[in-house]
Structure formats: structure tokens, C-alpha cells
């Protein structure tokens, strides 16, 4: 909520010209109302040699929460606790950027009727932002500002000096120095890059951000090496705004009830994954292997248990051999994204009749899952705590009992072949375990034994002679003798009686 802009000068070109350029008188302290509180401009120093302007935004934290947002039941504001205690009043966040553009709008456009020639010229500038939230740390701060001609000093701020083990906070103390930029350029850099560096959690961004970005980025953004990151972060804030506002807060509340961060709970879908990315080669190989196994089994009605964002469902839909495809996931967010991916609301009736998505859980038996030809559990079991695995086993093999079950899971032995994976780490933050080939085989064989299935194992991805494939797949086929397990009510009494104990 605070930054200073300092310049130096000579008797011919006094530093106090900064006052003209900013359209704010150095001998006064001026206050401006903005949507988030009062912005003050004042000058701690102002003489011909050195002039410093300070922008201080007094954020009204209580009002911040009360604005906008519909009222919840009982008149309570329907918002997450995280909104009430946050760094907005202190950190140089996007709020400060908004204030900057409101208070210095002419300066940002380079308009200065009193000193038009100075507005167009570079001047020595030193900008200090003592508490800049910077997702990406000092390193990214440098990557963003240095290409623009700034000499950057970015020091991380420790989280709490009392607890050094907590490490650094996401704030840096930033000092920018340059003699090659105009004031307008400097302000526009700040206007765009403060929010880009800020954490993505906002609730108060207006809707015409694209235009604003284009205007403020004129002349520097197109050639910036980090243009893609800047653009996507700047605009993704808006997306996350709508997401936070539109989507359900139930999980947020459960996270808060438990003093956890919502990201720890609502993590079934990776944060960045909504952006349509090229799937990794392994994901493609896995999908191909699954589809091949399904085709080989002759399955027409298929369950995708733990369908995630629906990539497999989407692939199966392309093959008319699959007459009914059911995607089940426990995460409502995953289902929402899967529904969007499949464009369910725009799908033709015939196509739509082949696909269903619903919330379900493999920790419970579920009658809706009975009677299918095949079930796929692709990269699912490793997301369960080991003690809960018997429940999944019973729900799938004991209760749903499809003829064919495909289970894929990472082969932990292969992890040494991932260059990017630190030793001893699992491949995904939510993996509760990763198995060796032997461990997986032992589990799958025992499951098959207990439930009357036969099982074979198929490598997915390059089968390394030493550590095996990156993904292991088990194909379970129900033993023919156990096929006839549907309830038969129509046995005649005589026959029953003969058998009755």
C-alpha cells in the first residue's frame, strides 16, 4: 500500500519538476478517494537535487469485505475467512496499482502541460516498494523488470523473524533504478507488473482488463521476453475472480473449519491445468493402452472411475463401439471442468445419451455402478490413503463387479528416470503412495484372487530393462465361473429347497 518515486535533478532541471509530472504539488499532502480507501500523495523530500513522492493507500479492510459479494444466509457475508484477514492493507498489491492509475492518470499517459518536454524525456528514477507480493520470488521480479531497463534490487522479506524455520515470505523489498525511462513508462510498468507479481487471489478486478493491459503495455509489452507469462497472469486473475465468485464455497468452508488452505483440499484438479495443454506423451500412451485393452475386452458400456477432467471420456466418445460412457469423480470441480471440456450442454442428443458424468466415491459402494462391462481406474488408487484401499477394492470388485477392470498406477521404480523429479519424491503432490512393480502385482493378484478375477499386467510407456515402464497397468477379467452372479429370483422352490440347509 506504499511506494516512493524519487528523482534527482540539477538547478536547470530541478528534481521538484516531479511535482509537475505527477500533477501533485510537493508542498502539500493530497488525499484522493478510490474504491478501496483513501490514497495520499506526499513528498518526504522535495528540493532541486532530490525529490521523492510517496503514494500511500489507506485500505479500509472492513469495507473491503463488505463491498460487493451477495449476502449469505442470515445476513452474513458469504465469503471465505481468507478475505477478512489479508495483506491487502499492507502489501503493494493490485489495489495499489489501481490507486496508481487513478491518482496519476495523466502522468501515466505522459501528459504534462506545464513541462511537456520533460514528460517525454527519460529521467533518473528510483522506485521503492517495501512490501511487494511476488509470486515467483526475487528471481521473477528481476526477469520482469530488467528487460525494461531497470536495475533491480529485490530482497526477500522473512515470514517471521521469530520462526526462522518458516523461511521467506512471498514479499520482496523492491528497489528499481533507471535513468533511461520516462516517468510515464515507469508508471505503466508498475501498473501492469504489480498485479502480475501479486498472488492470484483477488475478488475486485473490473472486466475491461484486456483493453487496460493493451493500453498500459503499449510500447514495451509486445517485445518483453516474458510477455506470455505477463499476459496470462494478468488476465488469469480475472478468470480466477469469476471462478471464486461463481463456484461453490463449500469446500473452502470445510478447509477453513480445519484450519487448512483450500488448495490442500480442493486439489483434485491441478491449478494450471484448465488451460488446454498438450498432453504429455505418457498420458497419451496411457490412454491408448487403456482404449486398446477396452477394445480387446469387447466392452461397450464403460465406467471411468476417477474421470478427472474427462480426457478419457472424451477419447472414448470418439469410438462408437462404446455405447455408454460414465465418468465418475468425487471432485465437483473436476466434474465441472470435464463437463466444460466435453461441451455437454451443446452436445447432440444422440451423443449426449452415450455419456454421463456424476459425483461418486469409491470409498462407498454404489448401486449406480453395477452392471457395466468394464471399469477404468486410471491413476486413481495412488490418490487414496493405503488404509482406505480395501474399501475401494470392495466397491469396485465386490459391489460394482464389471467384467473387466483396468487399473493403472505409477511404477515408482521408474522415478529415477525422471530427470526433473528429485530423488525420493512422488510424481504428484497428492500421491499417497507409489508402488514398485512387485508391490502392485502382489496387490492386484490378491484382489483378483479374492473376487474371482484373473489378472495380467501390461507395461505402459517405454519398458526400461532395469526399472520397468513409467506406468503399470493391470487388466482384470472376471472368471467365467463367476459371471453368473446376478440375483436369480426365479429358481423354482423345489430346486431351492433341495439346496437349502
Amino acid at each position: 500500500m506504499f511506494l516512493t518515486i524519487t528523482t534527482t535533478g540539477t538547478p536547470e532541471r530541478p528534481a521538484t519538476d516531479l511535482g509537475y509530472l505527477l500533477h501533485k504539488h510537493p508542498e502539500k499532502s493530497q488525499a484522493f478517494s478510490t474504491s478501496y480507501g483513501k490514497a495520499h500523495v506526499l513528498y518526504p523530500e522535495a528540493d532541486a537535487e532530490r525529490c521523492a513522492a510517496a503514494l500511500l493507500l489507506e485500505v479500509d479492510a472492513v469495507a473491503l469485505v463488505r463491498r460487493g459479494k451477495g449476502k449469505g444466509r442470515g445476513g452474513a457475508p458469504d465469503a471465505a475467512l481468507a478475505q477478512y484477514v489479508n495483506d491487502r492493507p499492507y502489501a503493494a498489491s493490485s489495489l495499489l496499482a489501481v490507486a496508481l492509475s487513478a491518482v496519476f492518470s495523466s502522468a501515466m499517459r505522459g501528459v504534462c502541460n506545464a513541462r511537456p518536454e520533460r514528460a517525454a524525456q527519460p529521467l533518473p528514477l528510483r522506485i521503492e516498494v517495501p512490501a511487494l507480493p511476488a509470486r515467483g520470488g526475487p528471481e521473477l521480479v528481476r526477469r520482469l523488470f530488467e528487460p525494461l531497463g531497470w536495475a533491480v534490487t529485490a530482497e526477500p522479506v522473512p515470514l517471521d523473524v521469530r520462526f526462522p524455520e518458516w523461511g521467506d515470505s512471498r514479499y520482496v523489498r523492491l528497489v528499481l533504478e533507471s535513468e533511461a525511462l520516462t516517468l510515464a513508462e515507469a508508471l505503466r510498468h508498475l501498473y501492469v507488473l504489480l498485479p502480475v507479481l501479486d498472488d492470484a487471489k483477488h475478488y475486485w478486478v473490473s472486466s475491461d482488463e484486456v483493453d487496460k493491459l493493451l493500453r498500459a503495455g503499449e510500447g514495451w509489452l509486445p517485445d518483453h521476453p516474458e510477455q506470455k507469462l505477463i499476459t496470462s497472469r494478468y488476465l488469469s486473475r480475472r478468470w480466477s475472480l469469476t471462478r471464486e465468485a461463481m463456484e461453490r464455497l463449500e469446500l473452502v468452508r470445510l478447509a477453513e473449519a480445519d484450519d487448512s488452505e483450500v488448495e490442500d483440499i480442493d486439489n483434485a484438479v491441478e491449478a494450471e491445468s484448465e488451460v488446454e495443454e498438450k498432453p504429455t506423451p505418457l498420458a497419451v500412451q496411457r490412454r491408448d493402452a487403456i482404449i486398446a485393452a477396452l477394445k480387446a475386452s469387447g466392452a461397450a458400456r464403460v465406467l471411468d472411475l476417477g474421470c478427472g477432467q474427462g480426457q478419457l471420456v472424451q477419447a472414448l466418445l470418439k469410438d462408437p463401439a462404446f455405447t455408454e460412457i460414465v465418468g465418475v469423480d468425487v471432485s465437483m470441480r473436476a466434474l465441472t471442468i470435464a463437463g466444460r471440456r466435453l461441451k455437454l450442454d451443446r452436445m447432440g442428443e444422440r451423443q449426449a445419451s452415450r455419456v454421463k458424468l456424476f459425483q461418486g466415491s469409491l470409498a462407498y459402494t454404489d448401486n449406480r455402478l453395477k452392471g457395466y462391462d468394464a471399469a477404468v481406474l486410471s491413476e486413481v488408487i495412488e490418490h487414496l490413503d493405503l488404509p482406505r484401499l480395501p474399501a475401494l477394492e470392495y466397491a469396485v470388485f465386490g459391489s460394482a463387479r464389471p467384467r473387466t477392470v483396468l487399473v493403472t498406477t505409477p511404477n515408482v521404480e521408474y522415478n529415477v528416470r525422471w530427470e526433473s523429479l528429485p530423488a525420493g519424491h512422488v510424481r504428484h503432490g497428492d500421491h499417497r503412495f507409489e508402488w514398485t512393480r512387485d508391490e502392485f502385482r502382489a496387490w492386484a493378484t490378491a484382489v483378483a484372487e479374492r473376487h474371482g478375477y484373473g489378472v495380467q499386467f501390461v507395461p505402459v510407456g517405454p519398458d526400461d530393462p532395469e526399472v520397468g515402464p513409467p506406468t503399470q497397468m493391470a487388466i482384470f477379467e472376471m472368471n467365467t465361473a463367476d459371471m453368473n452372479t446376478g440375483t436369480q429370483n426365479n429358481l423354482n422352490d423345489e430346486k431351492k429347497e433341495a439346496k437349502a440347509a
Binding site: V85, V330, A391
Partner: protein
């Protein structure tokens, strides 16, 4: 039933109370008038009405098909709900009736036909008088009557179990309908009952058991009624003796009996049918050879008259031989009888050549207890409110009876192995031992949970969805999660200067609720924890069906506190040791304790939140203020007037520093379990008992003993002060205590009625606790600057009603879970209430309350 014969005046038409009544008659024969006169308006569904529903025209014949779809749909819903239903349509065509008979069969109710055979002229006259039917061609009525006449003879063959034919207008006018109860409906009998398992000719054991139950010569001095679940005969030494005893008791009104498959087969033998003399039938036949022809005839009659199952005691009890799913209770059809006699077999046979039975009891979710036999098991155990009493007396096991409503088991051992079993007795009760999960239908979607303390508590679909996600992905096994703590409402907003919450309001609120004595308990600065501590792994296996863990330690959303199970076990071990030293296992007669507690420090669990949220605010403010203050001071030094702004910023800086101090109190460094503390404040339940209603002073006395005997330094006491809400002196002491505690940086306190579960004068549950949070602690909740007077003014406009209602609903669900646990109810019932608490936690309510 045969066609009822003509009576001169006022025919009486018996109609079974749960049946599908089909009126058969031509257009204009007076069906609607008849239906109106004899049935409730909601019982009657007319095809004309349904035509109107789908086409806006009751006479639009083109809508007939859709109209009947609707009619069948409504009738199906009514029959499924067990409501008598009357179909008012012509039903003169066999095809139309067949659909209705199928419908009756699908819902296992009796189809009954009432035929209105009225002359063509009368029908025509009546139709002519109605504007909407005036132009109905005469030939339509003629066709109806022709079809009706053709139908009448074949109605019984079509499947109608009662057929009443009313001929002529007068017959129709004078008839009266009387409702008959179903044979299986003995809901008016309340017992008490002694339900006896499969006897199989073990006459001597039967006499011993009856004696043990208190029967003297087939009658009980206290008027109890014996109920036999069938399989009286075959295999054993004295089937005639058993039959004689049971038949005489039934005859004298001292007993009820349902048929087993063995009686059924013997009955068929007696009727001369060809049956195989296997499974012990040969023995019965031989023993009965020695009896008189007269006795055999009595037996045949007795078996013939047995009703497949009984619904007793106001619908709370169902007795049958082989078990019965809820949808068959009180129903009458071939398949109901078949299930009652034989159960539901899967069609497979096991390695002993015996049929594999479908485990219907596993799916059972009914409220009525189902008591049955048929499948020999070593021990009679409850599963989902069902119990099998066949404990294999004839195979050398025991003969078991269940006292109802006491739910006590009484048994006598077999005198010998009378018959070698084809396979060893084994328990088929699934229990939790092999990790069988609960069913999604028990928790998913919009639900209403019945609670003892607060009636029906509803759970919205979106909240259940969120709970499902957390429960499935993060929570421990439901078997180890018999409780989740409810949320707690804060005290009413204080108007004392500088305070948002103050205990004076809490005392006043309880005084107003009529609660005279309260306990103030120190609010610990940690995370809520529920600890289930079993005496040993065996106790955990026996009561909770888990192999391995000796309990659990969960957060308030059911997540395990520690990823590492061995850490949890170490904590449980320490609590267990303290409980042993304190003698709690013996004093409370239990093998396990369920504790509500606080685990400290807060930073142990909430470190992620602390870093991203609280410490971040501290770091940002700490970094920003020095520069801002220096800038302001610089401007002031230059003579710029910034005095107000500077003063304000200084205050803000000091508020932010106070905030940092506030959260720091909840953080300390732990190394392994060193530095970890557990402060139990309530024993929620022990074996067979919920202790939720134990007064808090007694609770705390028990817990003090536990803490005292802890040698590990884990357990921490809960400081407390008792206050009389009506005594100003005592109230002042309570306020001072709070001021002193929070002044030293304490989180605050919780005020609870001493009596724990308390109702107000109007009978509503009062809040089980009210939290009064300290002034400094609230900075963490409301922000660093909340104490500024203008901020406090705005924050005082907070709304507590929803939070209070939520707290009461969650509390009721929590109590319900404990009661269900204590009463040994099936796991799904306990889990339903626990899941409800979690779901409600996701309701929208101001999170700062």
C-alpha cells in the same frame, strides 16, 4: 375367494387395507360415484382425471396412452408407499387389467376387483345427462358391457385375489366396503415377545429354553408371547414333540409362529406331493409315523395356516424365517413368501454344495428390526438392525431366543450334536472386518437425518457433495470416525467499549435460558481433535472391526492429524497408559474412550495457513510500515501537514504489531512429539454409553484423573471456573477470570451449562457452549485493526442467528451419532449422523463467528 353371492340387502365387500382395487364397469356405470362414497378422495385415481392432467380435456381419447402412463405412475408411487389405491377406469378389457395386476405384483399387494354391472340404458342415460359425454356413441357403452360380461368369469384366473360383482343399480347403491387387515399385520400386538430361533426337532432344548425364559407349561406369567421363526421340524430327535408344544402355545394365544422352509416342505409331503426326503425330512416322517392320524391332520392344518411373516409392535419388529427386505414388509405376494421362507439366493453354490445366499441384511436400511433364522451361525449378532437367531441347536450349537423389546439374547446349549452339519457353522455377517465399505446412498444427495434431540435435520445436496469429497479423500475409515465435533456459536455481541465479545453476554444468555449454573472452561490455543482410544488392538478389532490401529486422532473434518500412523499410535499409547493408571477402564466399564480434545500447538496442524495467511500479513505490515512512517515523518519535518495521517499510520502499525504478537502465541516449535499437548475436555462415549449428558463437573473430575496419571507430559488439564448466572458476585468473578486469562494472551473461554445437555423452559435445546474469545485473539479473526472504534461499530452489526442454528443442528447430529454408537446401531447409521455434521460445516455462515 369366489364371486360373492347375491345378498338381498346391503352387500358387504371386504377390501384388504393394502391393496390395489380395480373398479370394472362401463362408462356411466357409476364407478366414480361408488369410489367417492367408499374411499378417500386421495385413494382414487381416475383415468379421466389423468387424461385431463396430460391434455386439459378429460374426454380426449387420443391422450389415453399418456393418461394411463400417469395413472400407473401415481398408483405405483402410492403402492410403494404402502397406500391402498383405487383405480377408477373402465378396466373392461383384459389387457388394461393385466397391466394393473402386474403393477400390484410389482409392489407385492393384493389386486382386488369390484365389478359394477349396470344395465346399458342406465349408463346411457347418465352419460346423456353429462354435457361432456352427451355425444358418446351408444355403441361404446354396448361394447363396454359386452366386454365386461365376457370378463367377469375370468377375473380370478387373471390374478385378482378378491372379486366382488355388483349386479344392477340397487346392488351398487346398497353395497358397503369394509377394510380388512392383512394377515401379516399384527402391529397392534406389542408383546413383550420372546423370539425363538430354529429348533429342528430339539424338543428338550426347547423346553429348557422356554423354562429359562420363564414360561410355565407354555404360558408366561407376565403375559409374554413367544414367537417362533420356523424350522420346527427335521433333523432333530423329536419333531412331533416340538410341533405339539408350539401348536398348543399358538392355539392358546401364547405364541405366534411363522413357517420355515422345512415346515413348508413337510406340509407339502402331508398333502401328498412328491418331495425328496432329504435334509432331515426322513427323520420327521419317521417320527410322525408314531403319531395319530388325527395329530398329523392337525399338523397339516397348522402348517397350512401359517402366515409367511408378521409385522409386530407398531411396525418396529418383523419376524420371518429367512429374512425380509423392507420393501416386502407387510406385503403379500408369492415372491414375498418365497423370500420369507428361503431368503434370496444368488444361484451359486459354495464348496459344500449349499446355495450361496445374497447378503440382503447388508443392504438393509429399514427402521423395523428384522428377526429371522434359517442360516446357522455361531453367534447371533445384530447387523443393520437385523439378527439371525439360528445358532445351530441341532448341529450341536445352541438354541437362542431374543427378548423384545429388551433386545436381550437368551440361549441354551445343545445337549449333543443331533445332526452333522454339511458345512461348519460360520458367521456370514459382513461386519467391517474385510473392509466392506458403506453405501453411497446412505450419505449422498439431499438428506434428512432423524435425531432424538432436535427432530429432523436436513442436509442440502451441495453440502453433502462437499462432505463426500472430504470424507472420501481425506478422512479416516468411517469405522474409526464415530463422531465429529459441532461448531460453536460465539457470545452475543458486546457493546462494552473496546470489546466485540465479552463473557457478560454469555452469562446473561444462559440466565435467560434458565440455566443457573455454568462452567467456564479455558479455551485452549490449539486445534480441535477427536481421539478414539481403545484399550488394545483386540478391543479395537472387537468393537470397531479394524485390524491394526488401536484408535484414531482426527481433526474436526475427520482427517488424521498425523500422516505417520506410528505417531498417532504413540499418542494413543500415552492416553491409554494414563487411562489405565487412572483406573478409567474399570470404573467406566469400557474398553475404549472417545475424547473431545484440543491438540496443541495450533502451528502443528495449521502451519500452512499460518505461513500463507497470518505470518504473511505480519511480514507485509512489518516491511511496509517503517518506510511509510519515515516518509510521513520526512514530509512533516518539511512542514507539510500530515499530522492526522501520521497518527493514524502509527496506530495502524501498532495494531499490526499486536496482530503479529497474537498469532505468535499459538506457535511453538515441536520436535517429534516433544512440545505436543493434548487437552481433553469431554469424554464423549464409552462402551454402551454416550456420556454427552454427563454434567461437566463430573466430566472434568474424570479427565483430571486422566491428566494426573499421565506420565508422558502429553496431557494438559483444562482450567475451569463455575459460575452462578443469577449471582452478580459470581458473574463478576467469571468476567474477571476471563479478563485475567485473555489479558495474559489467552484465547478465551467456553461457557457451558453444567448439566451439559439442557433444554430451556420452552423445551428447546440450549446452546451446549458459548465461546467468548479474547480481545487480542480476535485480531486474528477480524483483522489487526478491528479494535479501532469505527471498525468495532461496523463489526458489531453481525448476525448470529444462523450460526446459532447451525451450532444446534450440528450438536444434535453429534449427540445422535453418539447415541447410535452407544446403542450398537449399524455403522451406516452412525456414519449418517457424522457425515451430516461435516456436510453442515460447509453451510454458508459468517466464518468469523
Amino acid at each position: 375367494m369366489s364371486e360373492t353371492t347375491q345378498a338381498p340387502q346391503g352387500r358387504v365387500l371386504p377390501v384388504t387395507d393394502l391393496s390395489l382395487v380395480v373398479l370394472v364397469g362401463a362408462s356411466g356405470s357409476g364407478k366414480s360415484t361408488f369410489a367417492r362414497r367408499h374411499f378417500k378422495p386421495t385413494e382414487v385415481i381416475s383415468s379421466d382425471f389423468c387424461r385431463g392432467l396430460v391434455s386439459d380435456d378429460e374426454n380426449d381419447q387420443s391422450a389415453t396412452r399418456d393418461a394411463f402412463d400417469v395413472l400407473h405412475y401415481i398408483a405405483g408411487k402410492r403402492l410403494a408407499a404402502g397406500r391402498c389405491t383405487v383405480v377408477d377406469a373402465t378396466s373392461v378389457q383384459q389387457d388394461a387389467r393385466r397391466q394393473l395386476i402386474d403393477l400390484a405384483k410389482r409392489y407385492d399387494v393384493l389386486p382386488i376387483a369390484i365389478v359394477l354391472d349396470v344395465p346399458e340404458e342406465v349408463c346411457a342415460e347418465r352419460n346423456a345427462a353429462r354435457t361432456d359425454r352427451a355425444d358418446m356413441p351408444r355403441r361404446v357403452i354396448q361394447r363396454h358391457i359386452r366386454e365386461l360380461r365376457r370378463s367377469v368369469r375370468q377375473l380370478e384366473r387373471e390374478g385378482f385375489r378378491k372379486v366382488h360383482v355388483l349386479r344392477g343399480v340397487e346392488d351398487v347403491e346398497n353395497a358397503t366396503v369394509v377394510t380388512e387387515k392383512r394377515f401379516n399385520d399384527l402391529t397392534h400386538l406389542t408383546g413383550p415377545f420372546d423370539i425363538v430361533g430354529d429348533i429342528h426337532g430339539c424338543a428338550s432344548e426347547l423346553e429348557t429354553l422356554l423354562g429359562k425364559l420363564g414360561y410355565v407349561d407354555g404360558a408366561h406369567p407376565d403375559g409374554r408371547t413367544a414367537v417362533f421363526v420356523g424350522d420346527l421340524v427335521d433333523r432333530g430327535p423329536d419333531s412331533p414333540g416340538v410341533l405339539r408344544r408350539v401348536m398348543s402355545m399358538v392355539k392358546s394365544g401364547n405364541a405366534l409362529c411363522v413357517p420355515g422352509n422345512h415346515e413348508n416342505k413337510y406340509g407339502r409331503y402331508l398333502k401328498g406331493r412328491k418331495v425328496q426326503h432329504t435334509h432331515g425330512l426322513a427323520e420327521t416322517i419317521e417320527q410322525m409315523e408314531g403319531e395319530s392320524e388325527e395329530f398329523r391332520a392337525e399338523v397339516r392344518e397348522f402348517i397350512d395356516g401359517l402366515v409367511s411373516h408378521y409385522v409386530l409392535d407398531g411396525g418396529r419388529l418383523v419376524v420371518c424365517h429367512a429374512g425380509l427386505p423392507e420393501k416386502y414388509h407387510g406385503r403379500t405376494s408369492g415372491r414375498v413368501r418365497s423370500h420369507a421362507l428361503y431368503g434370496d439366493t444368488t444361484g451359486e453354490t459354495d464348496e459344500f454344495g449349499l446355495p450361496v445366499r445374497y447378503p440382503w441384511a447388508e443392504d438393509y436400511r429399514g427402521r423395523a428390526a428384522v428377526v429371522y433364522g434359517h442360516t446357522p451361525v455361531p453367534e447371533a449378532t445384530w447387523l443393520n438392525n437385523t439378527i439371525c437367531l439360528d445358532t445351530g441347536a441341532v448341529f450341536g450349537g445352541k438354541l437362542t431366543a431374543l427378548r423384545w423389546p429388551e433386545r436381550e439374547l437368551v440361549d441354551v446349549p445343545a445337549e449333543k450334536v443331533w445332526y452333522e452339519p454339511a458345512r461348519p457353522l460360520r458367521s456370514e455377517a459382513p461386519g467391517g472386518h474385510d473392509g466392506r465399505p458403506l453405501d453411497l446412498a446412505d450419505v449422498h444427495g439431499r438428506r434428512v437425518v432423524e435425531t432424538r434431540h432436535q427432530g429432523r435435520v436436513s442436509i442440502r445436496e451441495e453440502n453433502a457433495a462437499a462432505a463426500l469429497e472430504v470424507m472420501s479423500r481425506f478422512a479416516v475409515d468411517p469405522r474409526l470416525l464415530p463422531y465429529l465435533p459441532p461448531t460453536m456459536a460465539p457470545t452475543a455481541t458486546s457493546h462494552i467499549e473496546g470489546y466485540l465479545e465479552h463473557p457478560a453476554e454469555a452469562f446473561a444468555q444462559y440466565a435467560q435460558d434458565g440455566v443457573e449454573r455454568v462452567v467456564c472452561e479455558e479455551k485452549h490455543m490449539g486445534s480441535r481433535a477427536v481421539a478414539l482410544v481403545c484399550r488394545d488392538a483386540e478391543a479395537a478389532r472387537k468393537r470397531f472391526g479394524v485390524d491394526g490401529p488401536t484408535g484414531s486422532l482426527n481433526t474436526r473434518t475427520g482427517r488424521p492429524f498425523f500422516d505417520d500412523e506410528s505417531v498417532t499410535e504413540t499418542i494413543l499409547e500415552r492416553v491409554r497408559a494414563a487411562a489405565g493408571e487412572a483406573g478409567l477402564w474399570d470404573d467406566l466399564e469400557t474398553d475404549w474412550l472417545l475424547l473431545d480434545a484440543e491438540l496443541m500447538p495450533w502451528s502443528l496442524k495449521a502451519s500452512g495457513l499460518l505461513r500463507s495467511q497470518y505470518a504473511a500479513v505480519g511480514a507485509a505490515s512489518g516491511a511496509a510500515f517503517p518506510g511509510a512512517l519515515a516518509a510521513l515523518e520526512g514530509a512533516a519535518a518539511r512542514g507539510v501537514d500530515v499530522s492526522d495521517l501520521l497518527a493514524r499510520q502509527r496506530e495502524r502499525a501498532s495494531d499490526a504489531a499486536a496482530f503479529t504478537e497474537a498469532y505468535r502465541r499459538y506457535c511453538w516449535t515441536t520436535d517429534g512429539l516433544d512440545g505436543v499437548r493434548l487437552a481433553p475436555f469431554q469424554i464423549l462415549a464409552v462402551q454402551g454409553r454416550s456420556l454427552a449428558a454427563l454434567p461437566h463437573d463430573e466430566q472434568l473430575a474424570l479427565l483430571d484423573r486422566l491428566v494426573e496419571h499421565d506420565g508422558s507430559g502429553l496431557l494438559q488439564t483444562t482450567r475451569r471456573l463455575y459460575v452462578d448466572t443469577g449471582d452478580p458476585e459470581s458473574v463478576r468473578a467469571g468476567v474477571d477470570w476471563w479478563l485475567e486469562m485473555t489479558g495474559r494472551g489467552g484465547e478465551g473461554m467456553v461457557v457451558k451449562p453444567l448439566g451439559a445437555v439442557v433444554r430451556s423452559g420452552e423445551g428447546r435445546l440450549v446452546q451446549p457452549g458459548i465461546k467468548c474469545r479474547g480481545r487480542e485473539y480476535l485480531r486474528i479473526i477480524y483483522g489487526p485493526e478491528y479494535t479501532r472504534p469505527d471498525n468495532l461499530d461496523r463489526l458489531r452489526k453481525r448476525f448470529l442467528n444462523h450460526k446459532r442454528s447451525l451450532a444446534i443442528r450440528e450438536y444434535a447430529l453429534g449427540l445422535e451419532a453418539l447415541d447410535r454408537l452407544a446403542e450398537g446401531e449399524p455403522l451406516w447409521r452412525v456414519h449418517e449422523a457424522v457425515f451430516g455434521v461435516l456436510a453442515l460445516e460447509s453451510e454458508p455462515v459468517d466464518p468469523r463467528l
